[in-house]
Amino acid sequence: MRTITLTDAIREAIEEEMRVDSSVFVVGQDVRGAIFPHTKGLVEEFGTDRVVDTPIAESGMYGVAFGAAQEGMRPIVDFMFGGFSYVTFSECSVTTGQYHFLHGSQHALPIVITAGVGTGQRLANDHAMSIHGTFAHHPGIKVAMPSTPYDAKGMFKAAIRDNNPVVIPWHMGIMMLKGEVPGIGDDYIVPLGVADVKRVGSDVTVLANSLQLQHALSVAEKLAPEISVEVIDPRSFVPFDMETLLTSLEKTNRLVIVDEDWESGGFAATVSARVVEQGFDLLDAPILRVTLPNMPVPGGYMEEYVAPNPERIEAAIREVCL
């Protein structure tokens, strides 16, 4: 095992897949010079035909990926910041999600969409918003986010090998998070659609992802003398591993969902509704969600307390255990 950062892990996944499959390529803006570390060095190894910078033309840029995917290539399109995908939103949500299904399921669209998302840099809404909730709403698109370097490498590989559109952003707050990954040459996959129990507990289940997973783990450690917290990382939002969650709830009977997205209409609400439908009798308390309040993500110093944070997660755990 080696210790590397989350963005290093993403880069390793990309370069390893590019080495074995010449149809994989990266397209974005300033990916050659690597504005973020996960594309650093790729152009030196693979050249400008496979590491492509476009003008500031999101629709055109996404069109490169979409058309190439239809033509049998396997593009990774990088929006830099998640919010920028909305500049060409209809293409990457509606047109992408519906392509395979509406055309009789005859033609797969293997396209990976990635970008940096998330709070912690005080940059305000444009640069801090999350996109997984919105993309999870549109059928035909898989959505996932890694929380550790190990998961990042395995999930990006799975996404690149998947024959479906996969939106897999990464959280900028854990960009430099270090973690263990297997040695070079270990071609492991972390399958999409499988959740991971990151910490075993018995009193309450906390569902959390990416930066919020790290927060949840630190809260669980802190509360260990009083409350035994089980922390589950969904890893994928679509498809979502309900089985793992229900199995956990059979044991704990209490659920807190942490989601760094707005309260209204997000992933947390969806899981909550499903748990009530499928696991009603397992619940000994209402399901609590810790989310962003329904306001544009403010910049400045307000971000710290408006966004989900360890204090709010702890308060929710205590409330659900009353």
Binding site: F36, L123, M176, N253, E263, D284, Y305, A315, L322
Partner: protein, 429 residues
């Protein structure tokens, strides 16, 4: 002199920067440093910078050369006095206290209490039912309550807002078994007179209250006769032979229910409920069935009334299957509220349990006006067409509410029932 201290933290120089290394301090600890002069050489993953001092002051480093820290980590102090800061010194940095509400407005949930229904459904007011009024309880607590036969309305909830939660149910269950275990061991240990002391609470209390109420508030009388079920048993034996084909081993009770349907058709007022000051005669026949359940100790027992709805439209096999699954549900704690409410007539059998020919005075299941209590059949010599024959006689005890039924209709009902039992071909009509 008071020492005002300004904290200098690792600056965040770029979006992609999460940590930096102090490659070199360009000033010495204790130096008086002017604002704007080169202070330190900072390295990030990508670039190296010389940073400038933000304010003037006496400089004291906190982090040594070569250390890598996260952005925002304290690197050094600038002091107004030539000494390192201590606990008494004031901070010049703006307050970093979070505002009182750090939990976010979306955590301020409004809690709404369930509304109690204004009318209690008396048709469902049987011996033991699911909660007759709206309680605050978690879904899990309710499920466990049914499974463990704990009445939630007897509990006080320890959850938020008085909600009854799992631990309340488990505590009640354990204290029941604990109590009886205690009593059992106490009795054995003492070798004394008291074998068990059972509190009149929970289900027992409910049964007790309902029995007293039934006897006090009605004019119930009990009648006894015996019906010759020799031919009925022969018919039953034919059906029992076809058990695999029919999917069930048709019971005598199924025949009884079929016979009651026949009798009720002749005397509809036997299928009625007394509600307030009215006798409500029902078309549908929802057959209440007294079901014994285990008690909390080896000495006591419990009683619940399951209800098989609309038996008037069911054949023997449907009745038998319906009965069996109803009894199973009730005994497994999986009864629905329909399973436990809405009876219009009740059957309470001691057949196979009591001695042969037992006559009983069964207590009415309010608000029904009638209840049939068969018991263990007995072989008797009877005169048939002038000859003495060995016949299987089923003892039947019939209790009716004389407020609603008089002797004449009651007698007609019993005659009709007897007729159907003795001539089972009438059940085919």
């Amino acid at each position: 002199m008071a020492n005002t201290v300004t904290e200098y933290v690792m600056p965040k120089l770029a979006m992609a920067m999460n940590e930096g290394t102090v490659a070199d301090w360009l000033v010495q600890d204790g130096d008086y440093v002017e604002a704007g002069i080169p202070l330190a050489a900072i390295e990030t993953e990508k670039v190296a910078y010389d940073v400038e001092s933000p304010v003037s002051g006496y400089f004291y480093s906190v982090v040594p050369v070569g250390q890598t820290v996260d952005c925002g980590t304290l690197l050094a102090h600038f002091c107004t006095e030539p000494r390192r800061p201590d606990a008494a010194d004031t901070s010049a940095n703006s307050s970093t206290d979070l505002p009182a509400d750090t939990l976010g407005a979306n955590e301020a949930r409004s809690k709404r209490d369930p509304v109690a229904p204004s009318v209690v459904d008396s048709a469902s007011d049987t011996a033991a039912t699911s909660e007759p009024k709206r309680l605050k309880s978690s879904p899990l607590a309710r499920k466990l309550g049914k499974q463990l036969n704990i009445q939630l309305d007897a509990l006080t909830g320890s959850g938020p807002g008085g909600r009854i939660v799992k631990r309340d149910v488990m505590a009640a269950s354990e204290s029941k078994t604990h109590q009886s275990a205690q009593l059992a061991t106490a009795a054995e240990a003492s070798g004394g007179d008291i074998l068990a002391t059972l509190p009149m609470s929970g289900l027992r209390k409910t049964i007790a209250n309902r029995m007293v109420q039934s006897l006090q508030n009605t004019a119930q009388v009990s009648c006894h006769w015996e019906s010759d079920i020799t031919r009925l048993l022969a018919q039953r034996a034919e059906l029992v032979e076809q058990e695999d084909l029919l999917g069930t081993r048709v019971s005598v009770n199924a025949f009884l229910i079929k016979a009651l349907v026949y009798a009720i058709r002749q005397v509809p007022i036997a299928n009625a409920n007394v509600v307030n000051d009215e006798i409500v005669i029902h078309r549908n026949i929802n057959m209440g069935m007294a079901i014994s359940i285990p008690g909390s100790t080896e000495y006591d027992s419990g009683l619940m009334v399951g209800v098989l709805h609309n038996v008037e439209s069911m054949g023997l096999v449907a009745i038998d299957k319906g009965m069996r699954s109803l009894i199973a549900r009730v005994r497994n704690g999986e009864a629905t509220s329909d399973d436990l409410s809405g009876s219009t007539f009740t059957l309470s059998s001691t057949a196979g349990i009591g001695p042969p020919g037992l006559k009983t005075t069964p207590v009415l299941n309010q608000p029904n006006v009638a209840l049939l209590g068969p018991s263990t059949p007995v072989e008797r010599p009877m005169i048939k067409d002038g000859d003495v024959k060995a016949c299987t006689m089923l003892p039947l005890s019939f209790t009716f509410d004389h407020r609603a039924l008089d002797g004449e209709p009651a007698a007609r009902f019993m005659a009709a029932l007897n007729n159907a039992l003795e001539k089972p071909s009438l059940l085919l009509t």
